[in-house]
């Protein structure tokens, strides 16, 4: 069982994940059209690149934009959630040990307590993200079961992984649940709006180019996001 889950199924999951995301990016870029979008993507390149980078950079910076500044609670939730999701699995000691055993490679790892805090951060912020979907009318009206499903798919590997790491009871169950849920997540990413892990950069970059080239970027100081 373990061999299958971490062997062929894992390979398949990563294959779908990487190829799917590449397809997403290629499809996005190929679908851009200077005349319909009214953005001359390939002209005025330096303004375009500058606009795109500014647009991505300020939004990746906690409190870097007016939106992040005016909604501090959401900003904290957002960054705790996303930083935990991205950093923890990549720099987790346990994942690195597996990598070293299989392929003989590994990189910097997080101290155990830090990984624990990041994981708890993901779980707690996810809980609050659910609560705001229920509590705030402006979020409730947009929310459907699909949003909860995606949140569950995203959080499940962290919840199961955390319990497995505690080794409290029924370790194999939580370990298998962790591996399976992580594989579900990897497969779901390119197939759902979780594809925003790459499309965020595409979409932000696109609007940045729009502002950087056409909407004042060549005249003003550049948009204060």
């Amino acid at each position: 069982m373990y061999q299958f889950l971490t062997g062929p199924l894992l390979w398949l999951s990563f294959l779908i994940f990487f190829i799917g995301l590449i397809v997403r990016v290629v499809w996005y870029v190929r679908g851009l059209n200077w005349q319909m979008d009214r953005v001359p993507y390939t002209k005025h390149v330096s303004h375009g690149v500058k606009g795109a980078l500014r647009s991505i950079f300020f939004w990746l910076l906690p409190f870097g934009t007016r939106r992040w500044k005016t909604r501090p609670a959401m900003t904290i939730l957002f960054f705790v959630f996303h930083i935990g999701i991205v950093i923890t699995p990549i720099f987790l000691l346990a994942h690195n040990i597996i990598l070293r055993e299989r392929w003989g490679i590994s990189w910097a790892t997080l101290p155990g307590p830090v990984a624990d805090i990041l994981t708890i951060g993901v779980l707690v912020s996810a809980l609050f993200l659910v609560l705001r979907r229920v509590a705030f009318s402006e979020v409730r009206i947009l929310t459907s079961a699909y949003d909860y499903l995606l949140l569950a798919i995203t959080v499940a590997p962290f919840f199961t992984g955390f319990l497995a790491s505690l080794k409290v009871a029924d370790y194999p169950f939580w370990l298998y649940a962790h591996i399976i849920s992580a594989e579900i997540m990897l497969i779901a990413i390119p197939l759902t709006k979780l594809s925003h892990i790459v499309l965020f950069f595409m979409s932000r970059g696109q609007l940045g180019m729009d502002y950087g080239i056409k909407r004042g970027g060549m005249k003003g100081r550049g948009l204060a996001w």
Binding site: W34, R67, R71, V139, K193, F200, S203, Q206, L223
Partner: protein
Amino acid sequence: MPEGSLCNKTPVDTMEQLQALLSDRRGVTYYQEMDQLDVNKEALATAIQNTCKSRIRTWLEICAHCGLCADACPYYLVNDKDPKQVPAYKIQSTLGEIVKRKGEVDNDFMQYVMDTAWSKCTCCNRCGMYCPFGIDMGVMFGYVRGLCFAQGFVPWELKIGSGMHRIFRAQMDVTQEDWIETCKWMEEEQEDDWPGLKIPIDVENADLLYTVNAREVKHYPEDLAEAAILFHIAGENWTVASEGWEATSLSMFAGDWAACKMQVETVYDSMKRLKPKRMITTECGHLYRATVLEGPYWAGYESGQPPVECIHYVEWVAEALRTGKLKIDPAKKIKEPVTYQDSCNYIRNGGLGDIAREIISYVAEDFREMSPCREHNFCCGGGGGLNGIGRYRPQRDKGLEIKRDQILATEAKIVIAPCHNCWDAIRDLEEVFHIDISWTFLKPLLLSMVEVPEHLKPAED
């Protein structure tokens, strides 16, 4: 009844069609016919297939439904935070559904789409600045308007407006003769006070080619005279075009892209014909947006640039003040508290926020910023064509409240609004709420305080 005699999928290209629409008072018959109008589902599906590409599809798909766009929208705020006014909801429940259903929608649905696209969104693009993904719902509603127009679901006034552009190449029924006559008339009017003042028509290789909004010609020709006087004082080598003199685009508000192209090409043709160093617009926001920012794409210019460099009126004013072409009498600067209405079209979407402040530094002693301001400012409440649509007057008036409160908070007595739509909205705001403010374009303001060089003054008798 699939197609009405007034409300149908055919754009207005003839005087007969235009007259028929105009004689239908307030569009009563037009909107009755709209209730019967069929949706051409295949055409809608084909349009989506051909024009809704990765940018918009991605925006629709990856929207995280987080609600962070909600309070970016003035209509959400002013309507007691009605969740149905959340930008993401508005676009998902309209364009999102059309795409999902592949065009399989009915008349009721299209009327909901039309009402949403024109009365709950002025395409101010503010929401796009507050979405972490950069989902610009103003851009999408611009696109939705095009889909609606093609199906005949467009507010009566805008069907007329785009028809005006198609017939007159102007937003109102002002002919080339009317225009030239008005130029001559305004020139003559100034003879006594401004000897030597000219409104030069069709001069080639001038430094500036001035373009206007047809309503100035039709309703406030003195605006043209004021422009001429200021150019005269500044010693500018300027001209207007006999053809292609009008650079606005109600067709942009209507989503009539074919008319947008026709209109902007006449302006670009005048640039190519007269070869000015630069084109300068009048004090109008959507004119700048249409002819300078969006027009090159309608006309198919891959560079995204118009044939010659184009500047907004505020850029010229700032430059004239900076270089001393226009000198302000310090004693005549405005002493009262004054504020500035940042137009979405040339501030948020044109990057001219600093330029506007530079002008203020020359003309006002007590300047009060609205909050928020610059790129983050709220729409005046009348943008995107909303000022002119009778069907949505209640929604428009409600929206003005947010601007009223912004202005009141500054305690300013004068609002400088160098944009026709903003100027109108603020005038109407004063009519509706009586908050005791005045509002002005830059031209009359500058004329009230500019120093006139001795040699330009009329000779004493």
